[in-house]
Symmetry: C2
Subunit: 461 residues, 2 copies
């Protein structure tokens, strides 16, 4: 009857060390979110299907995990519909709930539902798992955490400035120096499309431009031609491909290129504002870079677009991203609420910290001292000491099984070694008589007979 | 097109204050788990259906949330099966994954799957949500957190002793004094059933006995009679109904009642060992009480059974429970691994702390100071100060939108008031010229013009 145990593909178990490392990242991010004034909310793991469906495009709808209704769910499908045996049509009849696909749509739903209890501008953060029925592959999972911070209810550009500072603070706190925060603006992309006469092909245009890094200039131009963008339009793009220099000089070039587009000029103005503020405020370890090819799920964003890449030399996709969306909550009936937010890619940050050896050593530390169990009387004597140790915040354990006939002593020592417990305490008859404890340093092998007070102070250091 | 937003019944949104209060409970429990040497693990939100199905009885199977397969899932149902339109039969064909129903079965699966990487005895804790398609009612939700600590790989009774200390420590740390930790032993229940000649009716017998508190002695006897337990057997129960006195004197009475049952005597011995150890070690604020009527999902437990009730005067079901199960992992192919564990009922603990006013006031604190935004130059000046404040760990915000034509000042002050932000800083032209900040205490109305250094030290206190 025994089953060979396994877990669904694309999901993961996390062992104690992995949980500790993940929590280190979560806690670092959370602590920065708090100093910036963000407040936590949590939403249910599953939402009503109509809250989620239709919000992520056709592919998104496909990738949403649907939950089967309870009870005799087929009885709600009429015979005619049932006879069709059409999975797509029947899904809506037998499933009313679906697992969260991201944190943005549930957040929008939350804001609208609780609008009367919220003081705007509302700065919220949220760190919860999301689920996607994507094909699992290296670094892509079906269950993964998102860590988002957003502000809704203000279109002030100071928020973009603060989000750049927030990225800088978090990555600096994680010891990850030299990240690049790339920024663009949807209005720049619209402006370019306008200038080259391809406003109606904005998405095709940006999808192609987004690939510049990967496939190079020629292929990008080919793709644009293929999508029906004119040769003369593409010629006008030439200066874009050769944009060089620092943020300011790129801004100057863009002013030339976009001189005829009102929207483009607005985008330049916004970028310029943000860049000037950041120059005055200084970043700690990150670099701010203008990247006119940056698009990311363009449909979302209406203003700033962000993406963070790991320090040079680390091969890894973006470790964060975000941007501004002018109408986050409209689909749920609350119009004209502007939002801007950023997200941290936990799994990728984890891999980068691992690769660069940036996790602090103390993370692995759990139990500090193990009391060897020589018998019931000794165990009780030990537990009295352990009680005090724990009260002072020392993580202490008694080995549960006693040594019988002198056996199992090695087993207990091995347990301490394997678990990386740095100290063991030995309590035998002699120690009990003298009300003392023999403390053994597992690394050096050194042993000391000490009283409780000394034991505590030695373990505290 | 706008939808009126809502969430599925039995689920909850948590606002910032609620998240902070829940985290306070989680962190208190977690911190005690750690001092006792427990290590965290996490398992996926959904498991393969065959990992979960059949583990919780028939009702459990019904209450497990099933996830619909992706793609054209109906194509895998053959026409003959399909024609039956039988929800029960078709479920297994169209759903291969299910949401976690508790943390115990996934833990057992984890232990078996990773047995070669685990150092036994394995002390693990786990705090994750679980899902049940139960009828929602007051205090019962379809998504809720479980907080479990278990040890597997040892049958030492010292673990029971330590779990009682752990309960005592957690509830004391939460300020919840005077909880009652009730303890029983499956072997006592088996012994009683044996003595009254109802060994074959152990479950009926304990289900009835479990109701003693609620329905009283007479009704319990009626129910037992109805289930086919003999009148002479029930007569033998009489001493049980009048068990009084402290732990020790109850133990003495049980010795008489169970003198003919080997299993019963073993149970008494175990309870006596635990009670004697706890008497020596002293509990801080909890009381340990023997309760021979305590059964809880009896099928699980093979030794100790625990349940914690809130301090007298608080109407609330149990706020924690647990026990020993001799064969946790057998169903997944690893035999003879004994486990013992306890669980904390987060939602009920939350309600009790709320009722008794035991949440610390500082929990609600989020942002400590808001900088009023008088304009772009002032905002930039403010952000330079905010940067330093945040570096010293002070949660600080700039109001994102600037005051235009003298308007909106009140709006910004209102925002600080509503959010309970205790201080605001005003920076105008005068302050910028003098490199100073006007700090206003929102409670007293007091205003001081200070330099950055003083600002930081005032906010630090």
């Amino acid at each position: 009857m025994a089953q060979k145990p396994s877990i669904p593909k694309g999901t993961r178990d996390f062992n104690p060390e992995q949980v500790a490392k993940r929590n280190y990242i979560f806690n670092t991010i959370k602590s920065q979110f708090k100093t910036f004034g963000f407040q936590p909310i949590e939403t249910p793991s599953f939402e009503n299907s109509d809250t989620l469906m239709g919000k992520y495009g056709e592919e998104g709808d496909r990738l949403i995990f649907k939950i089967l209704n309870s009870g005799d769910y087929l009885s709600k499908v009429n015979d005619e519909e049932y006879a069709g045996k059409d999975s797509n049509k029947i899904t809506a009849k037998i499933s009313e709930k679906a697992l969260r696909y991201d944190l943005t749509v549930p957040f929008a739903r939350y804001v609208v539902q609780h609008q009367n209890d919220i003081d705007f501008p509302f700065k919220r953060y949220q760190m919860q798992p999301v689920w996607r029925a994507d094909r699992p592959q290296k670094g892509r999972f079906r269950e993964f955490y998102q860590c988002d911070a957003d502000v809704v209810g203000s279109d002030s550009l100071w928020q973009e400035v603060e989000f750049i500072q927030l990225y800088d603070n978090v990555f600096t706190a994680l010891g990850l120096k030299g990240t690049t925060i790339k920024i663009n603006n949807r209005k720049i992309l619209s402006g370019i499309a306008e200038v080259i006469g391809a406003s109606d092909k904005l998405i095709d245009f940006t999808v192609a431009l987004d690939k510049l890094d990967k496939i190079g200039e020629e292929k990008v131009k080919e793709e644009m031609l293929g999508k029906g963008i004119s040769q003369s339009g593409i010629d006008k793009l030439q200066p874009l491909f050769s944009l060089t220099g620092d943020f300011n000089s790129q801004i100057e070039s863009l002013k030339d290129i976009l001189s005829t587009s009102e929207e483009g000029k607005k985008g330049i103005e916004e970028l310029d504002f943000i860049n000037k503020a950041i120059s005055e405020l200084d970043l700690k370890t990150a670099n701010l870079q203008l990247d006119v090819t940056l698009a990311r799920g363009l449909n979302y964003y209406t203003g700033a677009i962000f993406e963070v890449s790991a320090p040079q030399g680390v091969k890894m996709g973006s470790i964060g991203g975000g941007g501004r969306y002018a109408d986050l909550t409209g689909v749920f009936g609350l119009k004209n609420v502007s939002g801007v937010g950023i997200s941290f890619g936990l799994d990728r940050i984890y891999l980068v910290l691992e690769e660069l050896g940036l996790f602090p050593e103390t993370i692995a530390k759990s139990t500090e001292v193990l009391f060897i169990n020589f018998g019931d009387a000794e165990a009780l004597f030990s537990l009295k000491a352990i009680k005090y140790l724990r009260e002072t915040g020392i993580n202490a354990e008694l080995y549960p099984d006693k040594i019988t006939n002198g056996k199992h002593m090695k087993k207990q020592m091995n347990y301490a070694n394997k678990r990386n417990i740095p100290f063991v305490v030995l309590v035998g008859e002699e120690e009990m008589n003298k009300n003392s404890y023999t403390l053994k340093n597992m690394k050096s092998g050194e042993q000391n007979k000490v009283e409780l007070k000394e034991l505590i102070s030695l373990l505290k250091n």
